[in-house]
Amino acid sequence: MNAQAQVLLLAQRALVQFPRNPVVLGFSVMPVLIMYLVFGGLFAGVAKLPGFPTDNYFEYLAPTAILLATVPGIGNVGVALAADFQSGYFHKLLTTPTSVGAVMLGRLLGDCLRLAVQAALVLLLAMALGAEVATGVPGALLMIVMGTLLGIVTFGALSANLAIRTRDAAAVQATQPMAFLLIFLTSAYQSSDQIESSDQIDSAVLRTIIELNPAEHVLRPMRELMLSGYDWGDIGIGFLVIAALGAVALPLTARNYRRAYS
């Protein structure tokens, strides 16, 4: 059996698991949908600001909600791997002619498919609230792909590495707030050029933090796909950022797995 077939079999295993663990399904998608509805309602007035790119705040917020589904959601990869370590099943798989890479990719592929469905649910809710995807179905798919890839190279890699280090599902889950930090320190809720200074923090500082956050450079083209159209320059930058993060995160993860089994 070749490696691709092994990856597909292991992805199938992950997909069978999800409906049997309704807690994972429910708790990974419901908070996102609720946050989308609540924040969309609370901040609806932001869309009335002069120069705001849309008059429907749910439209603006939809790419953020996709990231809220994909980035923290991919953390389940680490949780599941840690559970396999704890049960001994990871070792069991490694006594078959299956590589560590196939075990990890299979899990990742299964989770990515789950997240893609969850992200699509977010977009369906957005459309039910009057939002439109300016670039249609192809743009929507591209948004989901970008959001999922960002999740893999950031929180997916972090959770997988923590799973190797700690072999403890609870430790992996404890890092989930980091994923929200990554998303909130962007123009997730408001255009960065519309952020005003407060007594406590200067808007220039916030703008600098946002510009330095790699997630911002993925969220920006996603929002353009939602609101205006294809900006291939920004889309290219988004994929470059993902590739750069992946170039660091994925070899590091592979190295840690090799070390764990040397």
Binding site: M1, Q6, V16, S87, K92, T96, P97
Partner: protein
């Protein structure tokens, strides 16, 4: 060999059914060498400096049943882990079915079954799903894997539990499923790390009987670790007693007992060669 358990009678025909097609199929075979397993100065020191295994040399003939006995912490699991390609040796070499465990790990894995120390199962799966996946990862077709899983579940008397979630089954039942999953590709070499730990006497006897029959009918080479002296006595043609990462005695159980005295037990053998009582070391470990 005793076939006295109720298990033996019910499982006999199923086991024959399992073995029959296997004999006509092309299975992954060992290279045609005399010894199925060879260890030469095999050692493992973990990164924290713990020398778990300190140079073990052994040979296990094809079709032989061999036991590695010793208390917890003696180095049994590390040794069998190195043979199963789960742990990388830091010195020496080992080959399984004619293939080097470091240079040719994939070839080794094709030819081994390995029941891990904890029941290595996926709690969200059913026994049938787990075993079919195991078989398919070893290259069996879906239908073939399902048929073989069904037979093996009958052999271990779990046919009625085939579609229940593993999370709902007892620890002992999970261990039986793990063992059955290890046999899905009918490997020429079977490694069992503490195979009957936590099982009730009837299940233990059933597992022993199955292993006896598999070995005798398929010529499976069996290597197991255990801290149950009775298990070593019952299942193994030869044993190695390990203490603090080295082999302190090796031979047939009867021959080893004879070196100690009339009516000696394997516990007496352990005491003789290590100067410590086996139970004491278990508590200390």
């Amino acid at each position: 060999m005793t076939n006295s358990s109720a298990f033996a009678g019910t499982a006999r025909s199923t086991l024959d059914e399992l073995i029959r097609p296997a004999r006509t199929q092309k299975l992954e075979s060992a290279r045609p060498l005399g010894d199925a397993i060879v260890l030469e100065g095999l050692a493992k020191t973990y990164p924290d400096g713990t020398a778990a295994v300190r140079g073990i040399s052994l040979r296990v003939a094809a079709g032989e049943s061999f036991g590695i006995l010793g208390p917890n912490g003696a180095g049994k699991s590390t040794t069998i882990g190195m043979l199963g390609t789960l742990v990388k040796p830091t010195a020496g070499r080992a080959s399984v079915a004619g293939f080097d465990v470091v240079a040719e790990p994939r070839e080794v894995r094709r030819r081994i079954g390995f029941a891990v120390q904890q029941a290595g199962v996926d709690d969200f799966a059913t026994p049938m799903e787990l075993m079919v996946l195991q078989g398919r990862l070893h290259g069996l077709r879906k239908r073939e894997a399902a048929a073989r899983a069904g037979l093996l579940l009958r052999v271990i008397e779990l046919a009625e539990e085939a579609d229940r979630r593993l999370a709902t089954l007892s620890g002992g039942t999970k261990r039986r499923v793990d063992l059955a999953a290890s046999l899905m590709h009918l490997p020429p070499v079977l490694f069992l790390d503490e195979p009957t730990e936590g099982l009730d006497p009837r299940s233990r006897s059933g597992i022993w009987d199955t292993l006896d029959r598999l070995r005798s009918r398929l010529g499976v080479t069996l290597v197991l670790t255990t801290h149950y002296m009775e298990e070593g006595d019952r299942l193994c043609e030869r044993i190695a007693i390990i203490d603090r990462g080295i082999v302190v005695a090796e031979g047939a159980p009867a021959a080893l007992k004879a070196t100690v005295g009339r009516d000696a037990t394997l516990e007496d053998v352990y005491l003789h060669y290590t100067g410590r009582a086996f139970e004491d070391t278990r508590v200390a470990a």
